[in-house]
Symmetry: C2
Subunit: 213 residues, 2 copies
DNA sequence: TCCGAATTTGACCATCCGGTCGATAAAACA
DNA sequence: TGTTTTATCGACCGGATGGTCAAATTCGGA
């Protein structure tokens, strides 16, 4: 068999090398972009030769695609945890906190996605229209329910979700800009951001009748 | 003179061709990224040959750099208009509206910047640390004054500014994702976004003592 | 109209890069 | 140990691409 990646029962070496390649590809793709990254770079980072890399993946696009597919799942985990049975304010606050933590702890993943979307999502358009939309619609319905019950302000739930994405992922994707404005002290900046966003959304989503507590 | 772009008194042709090239470069760079764009593509879009393009610009990087430098000025105009003498709520609301309009009307400019920042701002690091930081610090001081006077909630003014950037530019930079989630009806989406953001920031920034009007 | 300066381009070069191939080495297994 | 399968890589290919150059054409002012 010439194409190792397509095997049904991958060997130990196949598993290890595939992981090493994907880890290296995340590093290189997220900092250089798809076009800016080279297979030689990825191979060197992964500790093997280019032909050897291409023994495990059919093409550069294949590496990229598999990386994105694997990552999307992790990336959506914070939203999946949004619980219809919880307290609306706490659930949304916790969601913002989890997303901000992901931006802090996984900036490469965030940048990889940002770069892909920025170029029109050519490799994952179907994932956006499929699993992503499905999850967003599901959770938007929960939020809409909270709004209808007067437990949060009557806001458009999908705009709420994408706005939370914007404000949290911004801290990974635009880190270079934030470094220039705030200085390079990341941990302090993230603490301030969490405080700012918690306050903004807490007040901004408080139901009109009852002042937030 | 071999390098037309460096002349003191540009001819009519120099002005026209330089503009055509920059317009074409904006189109190509913003959709393909710096690495993904080719000089042939830019030249063809601008209606001339590649060597002719290189008669006006010394290199691909030169085109990119001049584009970014010119654009930054336009891009910061909405923030420049933030008026210390105005009503805080109205000023910030108007700022959000202007930024959202720019994301709607100039998505290519937004994407060009986003791509540059995403890759670590290699070509404009000095612009971020210089004019950008200066303007942000100036306007942050105004907002801090409003907060100190109790005219808005006591929030970190710089985080407010970058958060407004995030939520507005998101509508240009992540348009592909929003298309997948909302469908392709841009004008409706922007109307909803304006309404959502106006409400969120209006309530989120209202001073704690006085309920917002 | 004439002339020097400015403009334009076809042909070309060097390099980079994704991908292939055949030969070799290392595992896995019997 | 012998044999088959798997893994590795040096050398190479072809196309794309940034950039050069010299020759040709056009422009603009006197």
């Amino acid at each position: 068999m010439t194409r190792a990646a397509s095997r049904q029962n991958p060997t130990r070496i196949q598993r290890e090398k595939t992981e090493a390649i994907l880890a290296a590809a995340l590093e290189v793709f997220s900092t250089m972009g798809f076009r800016g990254a080279t297979l030689d770079q990825i191979a060197e980072t992964a500790g093997l030769s280019k032909p050897n890399l291409l023994y495990y993946f059919a093409s550069k696009e294949d590496v990229h695609r598999m990386l994105l597919e694997r990552l999307l799942d992790t990336w959506l985990e914070p939203l999946r945890q949004l619980d219809a049975a919880g307290d609306p304010g706490e659930e949304i606050g916790a969601y913002i906190r989890r997303k901000l933590e992901m931006a802090r702890d996984y900036p490469r993943e965030s940048r990889l996605f940002a770069g892909e979307i920025l170029r029109g999502a050519p490799h994952i358009a179907d994932l956006l229209a499929g699993p992503l939309k499905a999850l967003v619609d599901e959770k938007a319905a929960i939020i809409a329910g909270w709004a209808a019950q007067g437990r949060i302000a009557p806001v458009d739930p999908r705009h709420l979700i994408v706005t939370i994405w914007a404000v949290t992922q911004h801290h990974a994707d635009f880190a270079a800009q934030l470094d220039a404005l705030f200085g390079p002290d990341d941990s302090r900046r993230f603490r301030e951001a969490e405080r700012f966003l918690a306050g903004l959304f807490d007040r901004g989503l408080a139901p009109p009748d009852h002042p937030q507590g």
